[in-house]
């Protein structure tokens, strides 16, 4: 089936089998390999993308269901080539990653959280990332990264493409 969708602000058309998950479509057909394939059955959260602005698991959706929707992946959160979003910067500064496998999803969850709630409490940050498994950091620096990013983002005008 042919589907058209907005991928990181660009309208793209792609031919998919109904059984192709949104995750496999992004990775194999659009070369957006920042969405990571972990468990592929909705448990680990590594495949999280922003679907019409909300953080969702791309392994729990078929690509055909995304017809006409807007999908944002980690490749689409930077202000420009070679640059990082404020949230990505905060992850670097606080060492909010080790192996990096869970990181794109964690960053996107943080984007969704902060777009909705610019001043999250520690509890709210923990709740937001509770569906994303990290096997390296022990989560403390990830929570710290999101809190730091929130603090910085509150201090500036919000860049237009941070959503």
């Amino acid at each position: 089936m042919r589907i058209e969708l907005d991928i990181n602000g660009e309208l793209r058309a792609v031919e998919v089998e109904p059984r192709t998950t949104l995750l496999d479509c992004l990775r194999d057909q659009m070369q957006l390999t920042g969405a990571h394939a972990g468990c592929e059955h909705g448990v680990c959260g590594a495949c999280t993308v922003l679907f019409d602005g909300a953080a969702v698991r791309s392994c729990l959706m078929f690509a055909v269901q995304a017809q006409g929707s807007a999908v944002r992946t980690i490749e689409g959160v930077t202000p420009g080539p070679g640059e990082m979003s404020m949230i990505q910067d905060a992850f670097c500064e606080t060492h909010g990653m080790q192996c990096g496998y869970c990181t794109p999803a964690m960053v996107l969850v943080a984007h969704a959280l902060l777009a909705d709630n610019p001043e999250p409490t520690r509890e709210e940050i923990i709740d937001a990332i509770s569906g994303n498994i990290c096997r390296c950091t022990g989560y403390a620096q990830i929570v710290e990264a999101i809190a730091l990013a929130a603090e910085r983002m509150r201090g500036v005008n919000r860049p237009v493409n941070l959503k």
């Binding site: 109904p18 998950t21 592929e40 953080a55 698991r57 729990l60 078929f62 055909v64 269901q65 709740d127």
Partner: protein, 294 residues
């Protein structure tokens, strides 16, 4: 972890979805897909045809309907979670929704999908049974309603007729001095409950329970009302000794699931504690007190 091949059809109306369902016995309806897609990935489900009802506008609503709140089947859990009508009129559901999966699954998961899926640990199912919700369905040839108490027949088995589409659910709204309590135990905050308990109480001006509804989930094959405890506690001031005795009695012979995650003995013991806490919280809530820290 890849689904077997299937046909896909995006239904534009309830009638179209019903016609498609009638035409293929091994078709499955997909709403949020947060369980179904995982089941298909593991090939525990292999539908020949997937009927996508996500874009049927008539299935997504939250509205007052007489003495009840009606919720459309494809209403997203994240939408219900933020809905002011649910927050004020269905406080028990409002308390339970944040416990369903996590934010990323609630963004896709639907109220109707959770009910139709009938996982023994589903929070929506527990609240529906506790509040005597009524589920409506439609098929190619008929439409009808089923009380939540009669809807859940077993783990992932419901009384929904073959070829029928769950279209919505009505939760009765209680009036007066109403309080609610909801507790569950799981390995991680967003994971399946091993045991869950819900209670809703209406207190009279004298602090006596005029009406009380109590149920446990995840303990057996489907949520169960503790009718004997409800009878024993109606008309009392919910004194702690009475609550404990009534709950112990009601759960004494409950048939509990026994699996890798929790033994039947554990589930029974925890069910007693969580139910007592849920009732205690519901009473405190109705009296306007701060819930007890557990």
């Amino acid at each position: 972890m890849k689904a077997a091949p299937f046909e896909y059809s995006r239904a534009a109306s309830i009638e179209e979805a019903c016609a498609l369902l009638a035409g293929d016995e091994s078709a499955r309806v997909i709403a949020g897909g947060q369980t179904l897609v995982a089941m298909m990935a593991m090939r525990l489900a292999r539908p020949s045809l997937l009927i996508d009802i996500n874009r049927i506008a008539a299935l997504s609503y939250i509205r007052a309907d007489g003495d009840a709140i009606a919720i459309g089947a494809t209403t997203r859990q994240c939408v219900a979670e933020r809905d002011p009508l649910i927050a004020t009129k269905l406080p028990l559901l409002a308390r339970a929704i944040p416990r369903i999966g996590h934010a990323a699954t609630r963004a896709r998961g639907t109220i109707g999908g959770s009910l139709a899926n009938a996982d023994p640990a589903a929070e929506c199912a527990l609240v529906a049974v506790t509040l005597d919700a009524v589920l409506s369905f439609q098929s190619h040839s008929e439409s009808g309603e089923i009380a939540a108490r009669d809807f859940f027949n077993g783990p992932m088995i419901t009384a929904l007729p073959a070829g029928a589409l769950l279209t919505g659910v009505r939760f009765p709204v209680w009036s007066g001095k109403v309080g609610t309590g909801f507790h569950e135990v799981n390995a991680r905050r967003s994971d399946f409950a091993f045991v869950s308990a819900a209670a809703q109480v209406e207190l009279g001006g004298d602090g006596v329970a005029r009406r009380i509804a109590i149920a446990v989930g995840a303990v057996g094959d489907f949520p169960v009302r503790l009718t004997s405890a409800e009878q024993a506690l109606t008309g009392t001031a919910l004194e702690s000794a009475k609550v404990e005795a009534a709950v112990r009695e009601a759960l004494a012979n409950i048939d509990a699931l026994d699996d890798l995650h929790a033994s039947a003995q554990y589930r029974r013991r925890v069910a007693v504690d969580l139910t007592i806490r849920a009732i205690t919280d519901a009473r405190a809530d109705a009296l306007g007190e701060k819930p007890h820290a557990h």
